[in-house]
Amino acid sequence: MSLLSSPDGNAEARGVGIGLRACHYGKFLGSHPPTDWVEVHSENYFGDGGYDLHVLEHVRSQYPVSLHGVALSLGSADGVRAAHLAKLKRLADRIEPALVSEHLCWGALGPRHFNDLLPLPYTREALAQIVSHVTQVQETLQRRILIENVSSYLQFRAHDMSEFYFLAELAKRSGCGILLDVNNVFVNSVNHGFDPGQALLEIPTQAVDEIHLAGHSAAGELLIDDHGSRVAPQVWNLYETACRRFGPVPTLIEWDTSIPPLDILLDEAAMAARISQAACA
């Protein structure tokens, strides 16, 4: 991993990044942690100003930044909330991120927002709707976005295709990229009983522009995507398979609950870099 990114100029995310969370702000203000790039949750920076944006702008002057949204609710039958999209656009204009991404899910309906990543039925109708919403977002932001597969605990009976075929079709029809969360592939393969390696084969080799890695936990026979631990051994294996198939794609280590010291995140990132380099050699 490169220690020095050229300030501001190098906006492209390459190599392995880590999720920037508030508890590590001090490290990023006081030193230059050795990470290739960082990703933040867009909604945490929707304010007009203040400390979080101040930190993000400082970090942006040192590293490529990826804006990862969690609440745009692209899969809602009643469409994308205009106010939310406007705030995302304001943030993207301010930060000039390397990447902008969101999820293959829904979270809001009518006035209600569940602030969660709820699964979609993988039907032709849902596909047509989300294609149009992703297109609308890309037109508003004047850039391509990436869409991430989510972990899920429920599967709709109504479906016309598999989750990964649906995601690949979305990318093909809207022109968006795919953010492949390898942990989510693994979690879903256990929760819904499919072969995770087969699932990767449903995604075209050129369609993946970013990979996410995170830890999960087990609740009985169900896996919970809680981003609260190190990446599991099976997920590292699946990551290696993904690297062989999709090439040297920028990869992110995510950690959102019981966030450890920065060194642990950097250690996970170093592991990802070793696997990616060996697989893509």
């Binding site: 945490n44 304010g47 007009d48 979080d52 569940f114 709820l118 605990y153 109504a158």
Partner: protein
Amino acid sequence: MRDLAALQARFAAGLDAPVPETGTQDLFVGGTEQVRQRLGIYRGNARANAAKALAAAYPVIEKIVGPEFFSGLASEYQSRIPSVNGDLNEYGEAFAGFLADFPPAREIPYLADVARLEWRVHRAHYAADPGRFDPARLALVPPEHQLQLRLRLHPACHVLQCAYPVARIWEIHQDAFSGEFAVEFSGRPTNALVYRPRFRVEVAQISDAEAVFLRAASDGQTLDAALAAAQLSDATFNLGRMLSEWVQSSVIVDFGLNGE
């Protein structure tokens, strides 16, 4: 059923229903018990995320009532006023009104006032960053026009009038507070000023005259009119001293002249 809007409406109803067994089972793959359990995870996530947002916005309320009672309050609040915004930092605006209205919370009479203050503190964190007051610009205004200035307050600033000494209650519940844990309840209303010198939000108790002045200034009245209002409240109100203090602490960040 395949229609996306209908599927989502039924899923949403299942998430918000008082009990999980509310007729959403047939939407999903799996046995009744399995679906009920897994729906429970989503129900729990939505509630936990909103509860976390409330705890982040109202840390002093949580300290006053303790985490267990707070979690009960958060749960009741969510049932009455669910989240409608993808930005959870905007969730919880009506918490003070809820506390004023909810009998178990009313046993602590000042709780709603503290919540009003905490909401302003919370939102001040995300307010815009104005430039600092420029004294050189002020020096260019001829003295005879200076009383016609309209002062601009920092967007994070807010003046609250409360029946209880909320600024003091807030102060003694801060992590860094090391003084005597005591509040004097005089029975008189108090004024609290929320302000943000740079990135850290501060709270101060201010006098009636100061509150009157800042409210008038924030309403866009001229310096002249704000001063007259403040002096009506307290004839000894010292404009020069207060202006310099407020410029220093970025309460006042700019001014306009002739309706600018």
